[in-house]
């Protein structure tokens, strides 16, 4: 949790994207010279179906302020059905997280195809803006602080 000199909050956003659509889409954003917020760290997966909900939990548990999950539009999956399976998983997972009081405004799900470079820039920018308004994920940061204390204390 480093803060820079003027103490302004810079959101840390982790993006879990699929290799075939959104990663290529993000590539297009770059080659199209579209500028977007640099706060996002993109992690490439073979498919949205591979994006385990535990990875999202781990992102928050390691200090992320926001998460983007993005893949191919329905019917466009490179593996035919990975995004359909992912969609079901997110429907359940999102409600469960909401039930335990996690702020679901911090997690953005989207379909971004390889042709939608502009949409990717828009998704990232709006997400970073939202997180900037929401502030750091303090609820998780409090738990992280306590867990470090506990783990070190027990050794």
């Amino acid at each position: 949790m480093e803060t820079n000199n003027n103490n302004s909050f810079e959101p840390k956003v982790v993006a879990f994207v699929c290799n075939w659509c959104t990663y290529a889409g993000a590539d297009l954003t770059g080659t199209s010279r579209i500028k977007y917020a640099p706060n996002v760290k993109i992690i490439r997966f073979p498919c949205t179906g591979r994006i385990d909900y535990m990875l999202l939990m781990k992102a928050f548990a390691n200090g992320a302020d926001g998460i983007i999950v993005s893949g191919c539009h329905p019917n466009d999956c490179h593996y035919t059905s990975g995004n359909f399976h992912a969609r079901r998983r997110w429907m359940i997972f999102r409600n469960l997280c909401d039930f335990i009081g996690m702020d679901m405004n911090r997690v953005v799900f989207s379909w971004v195809s390889a042709a939608e470079g502009a949409k990717w820039a828009e998704i990232v920018n709006t997400t970073v803006d939202t997180i900037r308004q929401l502030g750091p994920a303090t609820s998780f940061q409090k738990l992280i602080k306590n867990s470090v204390f506990e783990e070190v204390g027990n050794e």
């Binding site: 009081g101 799900f109 867990s147 506990e150």
Partner: protein, 267 residues
């Protein structure tokens, strides 16, 4: 109930069964599972309101699977779990006999999955009034209140995994918590790791939880962790029209999909 004692005595004496899995009187007004192999021990067996434990999990234990002629005294939760386990190919038709009870308290023998399924269809599926009220109470809270509520509950968890051990649907030989490369769930019990554990447990039970509440009943700290799996069970029903423990040929909710699944949050 002499009914069940008489019945099991006959089964054991005739050699129709060599093992009866049922309930006996425990301490503190509770019933506990018992394994009866001899006709003279059939007098131990009881079946009343105290027998609320879900004992379907015994059926897929290797040492019990090896027994050829067995019967299980099943309450409603156990029956639903048997159906769900059958749909996941964990137990097989003809391997065991079920002794269930009609609403009038009469014993019925169920041998095929079809018979079990039919009987289960007559049972009530859903939450009891108390759990319904608690769910509504939590859902009516603000986000911060909900987080506070669960943070408090999770902070008490000692990660004994009694919830996992008691759940008939938790049968993986190697659980994700035992995997340490990567270490998905931290070993020490702190609130953050406990939260990850309970979210993971609930997610793994999505569309499979038959809402028996055995996890919460066996929790030594009385944490309302059953509400998490109830939440995923209710969502599975609402979104995917899937109620666990109703059909032996049902497909798992998260392992299947429909192209017309409808959500409103993906941009």
């Amino acid at each position: 109930m002499n009914n069940i004692q008489q019945k099991t005595k006959e089964l054991l004496e005739s050699g129709a069964c060599t093992l009866i899995i049922g309930y006996e009187k425990g301490t503190g007004g509770k019933a506990r599972p018992v394994f009866v192999r001899k006709a003279e021990h059939a007098a131990k067996l009881i079946f009343d309101e105290s027998c609320d434990q879900n004992i379907a999990g015994y059926l897929y234990r290797q040492e019990i699977k090896n027994e050829s002629k067995k019967a299980i005294v099943a309450n409603n939760h156990t029956l639903k779990s048997i159906v769900e386990l059958a749909s996941e190919n964990q137990i097989h038709e003809g391997d065991f006999m079920v002794l269930a009870f009609t609403a009038e308290g009469e014993i019925i023998e169920l041998k095929s999955f079809e018979e079990i399924e039919k009987h289960v269809a007559t049972l009530y599926h859903g939450l009891n009034d108390e759990d319904k009220a608690t769910m509504q109470k939590i859902e009516a809270m603000t986000m911060e209140e909900r987080w506070g509520f669960w943070e408090n509950e999770f902070s008490k968890c000692i990660k004994c995994y009694a919830c996992r051990a008691s759940c008939p649907m938790c049968y993986c030989p190697t659980c994700t918590v035992e995997i340490n490369q990567p270490q998905w769930i931290p070993v020490p019990s702190h609130t953050l790791g406990n939260l990850e554990w309970h979210v993971m447990r609930a997610m793994h039970l999505a569309g499979r939880c038959i809402t028996c509440g055995q996890c919460a009943k066996s929790c030594p700290l009385d944490l309302p962790i059953h509400l998490l799996t109830y939440k995923v069970a209710l969502d599975s029903e609402q979104y995917f029209d899937s109620v666990a423990g109703t059909s032996v040929c049902a497909n798992n909710v998260l392992a299947t999909f429909k192209t017309e699944d409808h959500e409103n949050f993906i941009r």
